[in-house]
């Protein structure tokens, strides 16, 4: 390379790293190494998104919590500087209070908080236990190997959210296909728009029927708000869609990816399999939520007024991304953060986000995962992967991280 010796060293024309970043092939449970480097370098870094925009990436736990709790950041995808996840994000596919700011966000969110109160969720625990036991019975009655995603991980939250909302589970193939398209990063805006419209029409129809003939379910509750003139039919449909979508794609991935992670930590799997202690199951769920941090595209916000964070100024109109998988590996909060330790106290993780937009369904998700993790390995103690790790396809290409399938046997 003689010419580099005579002239100035070639400069990287664009040292800003792309986001999201690739994970290391051999460490599918760890955050991308590039994120760790940024966290070690400082609290803030600029990253480049798919559309060329350059929001700030916030890497530390304390800074992420401070920003997500700050009223000077906006979750509205139309706010100037909002870091867009993919083509078609916002606009046509904008739905639900998740993309609104207070006070409208709080008004709409409070309409659907009741079923997620702790007592109500606990009352559902026996129902979830029955669902989980029934699916395990079905698995054990048939031949292995089976795909744990199809046979177990997806049906559990799907059956639960259908029960809660009052959506007929018989239609699950239809809405699971559509929700999969909605959260696929490479779906075209047209594909995502079509999937959203189809499922919105379906839910809008169900709400219409509940208007005339209410039952004891969340769709009827939402329809009641329409009847009372508090929301219009479109907002009601968007709210139902948000709950159906969020109820599917998150818990399912935690079940399958969590199981795979446990296969690769046999000592930790044995703890869960052999325990009689419900407190250990509770802490195991928190630790797996922390360790896996499946919402791997970050919590995204637009800053609406200048904010100083970590000694740097984020200006109004700039975007910020809180990559929760790296905050959940912040050594300031979680000692030896890359170790999966089901006995640690991991409750302060930000896997459900933080601030007023923190996941509404978290009590339900926790309870489902507690039932699943306490049941699956105990009832099938010889459960094991049926293919080597390098044959597993990870969902780098989806809004929520996980595995496309997980062949298991016993």
């Amino acid at each position: 390379m003689a010419d580099t010796l005579t002239g100035p060293l070639p400069q990287d024309p664009d040292p800003v790293p792309d986001f999201p970043m690739p994970r290391a092939a051999r460490c599918p449970f760890d955050p991308p190494p590039g994120l760790k480097e940024l966290q070690e370098r400082g609290p803030l870094a600029k990253v480049r998104l798919w559309d060329g925009s350059r929001p700030w990436l916030v890497t530390r736990h304390a800074d992420q919590r401070a920003l997500l709790g700050d009223h000077r950041v906006s979750a509205d995808t139309d706010s100037p500087g909002y870091p867009s996840k993919a083509a078609g994000d916002g606009g046509d596919t904008k739905f639900g209070f998740i993309m609104l700011d207070d006070p409208e966000h709080a008004r709409l969110r409070r309409m659907v908080t009741a079923p997620f109160a702790i007592r109500r969720v606990e009352a559902l625990r026996p129902v979830v236990q029955d669902i989980v036991d029934g699916l395990v019975d079905d698995m054990l009655a048939g031949p292995g190997p089976v795909d744990l995603v199809e046979a177990f991980a997806l049906p559990v939250p799907s059956l639960v959210i259908c029960e809660l909302l009052g959506v007929p589970y018989d239609d699950h193939a239809f809405f699971q296909d559509n929700t999969r398209t909605m959260v696929h990063r490479d779906a075209t805006p047209e594909q995502r728009g079509r999937a959203t419209r189809e499922i919105a029409e379906y839910l809008g129809g169900l709400i219409g029927r509940r208007l005339a003939d209410p039952r004891d379910d969340l769709l009827s509750g939402i329809a009641g708000r329409v009847r009372a003139g508090e929301i219009d039919h479109r907002t009601a449909t968007e709210t139902a869609l948000l709950l159906l979508l969020a109820g599917h794609e998150t818990t399912a991935n935690m079940i399958a990816l969590g199981t795979l992670a446990l296969f690769h930590h046999p000592d930790q799997l044995a703890l869960l399999r052999d325990t009689e202690d419900p407190a250990l199951v509770v802490s195991a769920v928190e630790e797996l939520l922390r360790y896996l941090s499946i919402t791997h595209l970050g919590r995204r916000r637009a800053v609406t007024a200048d904010i100083e964070i970590g000694g740097r100024l984020i200006k109004a109109g700039e975007g910020v991304i809180m990559a929760n998988e790296i905050a959940n590996r912040d050594p300031e909060v979680f000692p030896d953060p890359d170790r999966l330790d089901l006995t640690r106290d991991a409750r302060r993780h930000v896997a459900f986000g933080f601030g007023v937009h923190q996941c509404l369904g978290q009590p339900l998700a926790r309870m489902e995962l507690q039932v699943v993790y306490a049941t699956l390995y105990r009832r099938i103690p010889t459960l094991r992967p049926a293919v080597p790790l390098d044959e597993i396809r990870f969902k780098e290409d989806a809004f929520i991280y996980g595995v496309h399938s997980l062949p298991v046997t016993w």
């Binding site: 969110r109 908080t113 997620f116 109160a117 702790i118 007592r119 109500r120 601030g355 923190q358 509404l360």
Partner: protein
């Protein structure tokens, strides 16, 4: 009883239920999931749980004033 006093701003509450999970003797929820304060002056043995509730509350709706 202790000298410590709990303040809860229900207007800020986002019904995450995390205070109930952390400190069920001190917090409950109403029918809509909004937090309810059961004990303004919690017993000393519950103070650690209240501190945890303060730390995990996503909406910063809880304060513990320790004197």
């Amino acid at each position: 009883m202790s000298g410590a006093e709990v303040e809860l701003e229900t207007d800020r509450c986002v019904a995450s239920g995390q205070c109930v999970v952390a400190a069920g003797q001190v917090f409950d929820q109403d029918d809509d999931g909004i937090a309810v304060l059961l004990a303004e002056r919690p017993a000393p043995e519950h103070l650690d749980d209240v501190r945890e509730a303060v730390a995990v509350c996503p909406a910063a709706a809880i304060r513990l004033l320790e004197r």
